[in-house]
């Protein structure tokens, strides 16, 4: 695609309206995590929209229509590309948008426009399609090592079952305590569950979607959906908010019809099990714990209460809240596939999360996202403040084991 081609062909009608709807009021800067750590308005949400409007004007404006689109200002393209890829796509700007722009969906689509022109993705994001093609995961790790390093002994995985568990690439390769906790808790609930063989449990497509590299999405989605359908799955359980997000929102689009199963985040399944009495924690935990809402679980798919329900089933705990919580949670820095490109930003955001948890005198920081888990742990290295970081299912599984 040439730079002189329209910048809005890939956008939905709603997104085209959204580009025009921004009032440039700048209120969203107060909640933008990138702004909090960079203080750079050039990469702020309204500035991204202003620059994108300039690009649209250059290709679709009256002058371009009458005289043809000329050469687009290279600096504008580069500045916009940097701004759009530095974003963590956490969606806090959209949550606080005075006109209700759905930025968590808009930014990835604007990234796609840059990818189509060869201006994105950036850094290691470029290697993801080839890695997924070769190994099934964006980390380019051997597919046969997807489960073996963390999968607990004694867990029975059914060949076919109404419930399936999808571990996800980030959990399986970068957050082992989390996925280990998931299967231990599923085992404790007692319903048989199935999993795909490691070489068949390929990437859900989210890293490609979020970086604007959409070419392989349809193939990945169809491959996964058909594999679960062949195992008679009616409920697909996953703990990664990013995977859950693309499964619930976009898999039906790329599959072309309604999915043959429903998607559930693991905290929904576990909260139900506590509610029905099938799961009970007897061990008391006399600790102050603070729960961080992952952006793609809260603003992404609207799950904010089930994780808290799960934690309230632990006898003795005192549940604390971040100042910005639930739908207004602050990104820990791991989102938008920016964490490995804009590393310093991600570290600084992760440390803001740690600092607030320490300031509130929490004994444990509870996470429920593998990317958050990996990044906040990394941010704590060489940081002067320390806290015990635990995944929610890791915590529950540990307490269930104690009795």
């Amino acid at each position: 695609m040439k730079n002189s081609d329209s910048f809005t062909k890939g956008l939905s009608p709603s997104q085209r309206v959204e580009i025009d709807a921004c009032t440039q009021c700048g209120e969203c800067l107060d909640c933008c995590p990138v702004q909090q750590v960079t203080k750079n308005p050039d990469v702020s949400p309204p500035e991204k929209i202003r620059m994108f409007r300039e690009l649209i004007k250059a290709t679709d404006g009256l002058k371009a229509k009458l005289l043809g689109a000329g050469e687009i200002d290279r600096k504008l393209l580069e500045d916009f590309t940097k701004a759009i890829f530095e974003c963590t796509t956490c969606g806090a700007c959209g949550q606080n948008c005075t006109v209700g722009i759905h930025t968590q969906r808009l930014w990835p689509m604007l990234r796609k426009e840059m990818v189509l022109r060869g201006l994105g993705p950036v850094g290691p994001q470029k290697d993801m399609p080839a890695a997924i093609q070769q190994t099934g995961n964006p980390y380019n790790k051997p597919s046969l090592e997807r489960y073996s390093p963390w999968f607990p002994d004694g867990i029975r995985v059914a060949e076919k079952a109404p419930i399936a568990y999808y571990a996800g690439c980030t959990g399986a390769y970068e957050a082992w305590p989390m996925v280990k906790g998931d299967v231990l808790v599923l085992q404790a609930i007692g319903d048989p569950f199935t999993m795909l063989p490691p070489e068949d449990e390929v990437c859900c497509g989210f890293p490609l979607f979020i970086t604007g590299q959409h070419d392989m999405l349809e193939d990945l989605v169809k491959r996964l959906v058909e594999a679960y359908r062949a195992r008679d799955v009616r409920t697909l359980v996953c703990s990664c908010p990013c995977c859950v997000n693309i499964m619930a929102r976009d898999w039906p689009v790329y599959y072309g019809k309604e999915l043959p199963f429903r998607i559930r985040h693991i905290t929904q399944v576990v909260a139900d099990a506590f509610g029905s009495g099938r799961l009970k924690i007897k061990t008391e935990l006399k600790e102050r714990i603070i729960y961080h809402d992952p952006c793609y679980l809260s603003r992404g798919v609207g799950i904010t209460e089930e994780p808290r329900d799960v934690l309230r089933n632990i006898p003795g705990i005192e549940l604390l809240e971040f100042d910005s919580n639930r739908m207004n949670s602050r990104c820990c820095g791991a989102g938008g596939a920016a964490r490995k490109v804009f590393h310093e930003n991600a570290m600084a955001m992760g440390r803001l999360t740690i600092d607030e948890a320490v300031r509130k005198k929490a004994d444990k920081l509870i996470l429920s996202c593998p990317a958050c888990y990996a990044k906040v742990n990394e941010a704590m290295q060489d940081h002067d403040k320390k806290i015990t970081i635990v995944d929610i299912m890791e915590l529950v599984a540990g307490l269930l084991r104690k009795g």
Partner: protein, 225 residues
């Protein structure tokens, strides 16, 4: 001069209308990837969105200090717009005639709210992002307000002559311009504003309604029965 200004008015109006028709056609252009399942707007989302538009509720939830100025600004602008319709309607409908007193109040509230917004954004809250385009508009609005007030209270403009000219504009009968310089200034600023109205004027109400629909859908996305 009347002919020049009339042509300027038609050009500005055409620019505004054609610009928005082109924009709306661009909004509705075919898109290859359709959402599945296709969504339809619910009545409750539409009504909630309407309340959001009328009260600027989303702004209220993030910045109540600025909301006060913005709401007064938008309400005053609407009242003034309705009040100004008496210059292009003959006979003047009772409802428009009844707007005269509110419009007089709005004529003072509008510049006051603009001043309040500017002070709050720049001096009190020291916003890190300030749109130069918005401030250009704010300045032009302020100039328009002040010239309007001067016309009303200081220069005592020839209202009958002005109405004769504006009725001529909308009925395509070009008449000579009333000999008031301040009206000429006020009218030219209005034409400039008409050509540079922000795109959010029509787009933002649509996104506000869509946002309500999206919030409803988000509740059901992972919690369907």
């Amino acid at each position: 001069m009347g002919l020049v200004l009339s042509l300027g008015f038609y050009a500005a109006f055409l620019f505004f209308v054609v610009g928005y028709i082109a924009r709306m056609l661009a909004w509705a252009r075919y898109t290859p990837l359709r959402p599945f399942p296709e969504k339809t707007l619910s009545l409750s989302a539409f009504l909630s969105g309407l309340v959001d538009i009328l009260l600027l509720r989303r702004l209220l939830s993030v910045n109540d200090v600025l909301w006060l100025g913005e709401w007064v600004f938008h309400a005053s602008l609407l009242v003034l717009f309705l009040g100004h319709l008496r210059y292009v309607l003959d006979p003047v409908p009772a409802i428009i005639a009844a707007m005269e007193i509110p419009a007089r109040v709005a004529a003072w509230l509008l510049p006051a709210s603009l001043f309040y917004i500017g002070v709050m954004k720049i001096i009190v809250e020291k916003k890190p992002y300030v749109s130069s385009y918005n401030f250009m508009l704010l300045g032009a609005m302020m100039v328009s307000c002040v010239s309007g007030l001067l016309m009303k209270y200081s220069f005592r403009a020839d209202l009958a002559g002005i109405k004769h000219f504006t009725i001529g504009l909308v009925t395509f009968h070009v008449v000579s311009l009333p000999g008031t310089l301040i009206f000429l200034f006020h009218f030219v600023v209005f034409l400039l504003l008409l050509m540079s109205l922000p795109t959010h004027m029509f787009a933002a109400p649509l996104t506000m309604i869509e946002a309500r629909q999206r919030e409803d859908e988000l509740r059901d996305l992972m919690h369907e029965e």
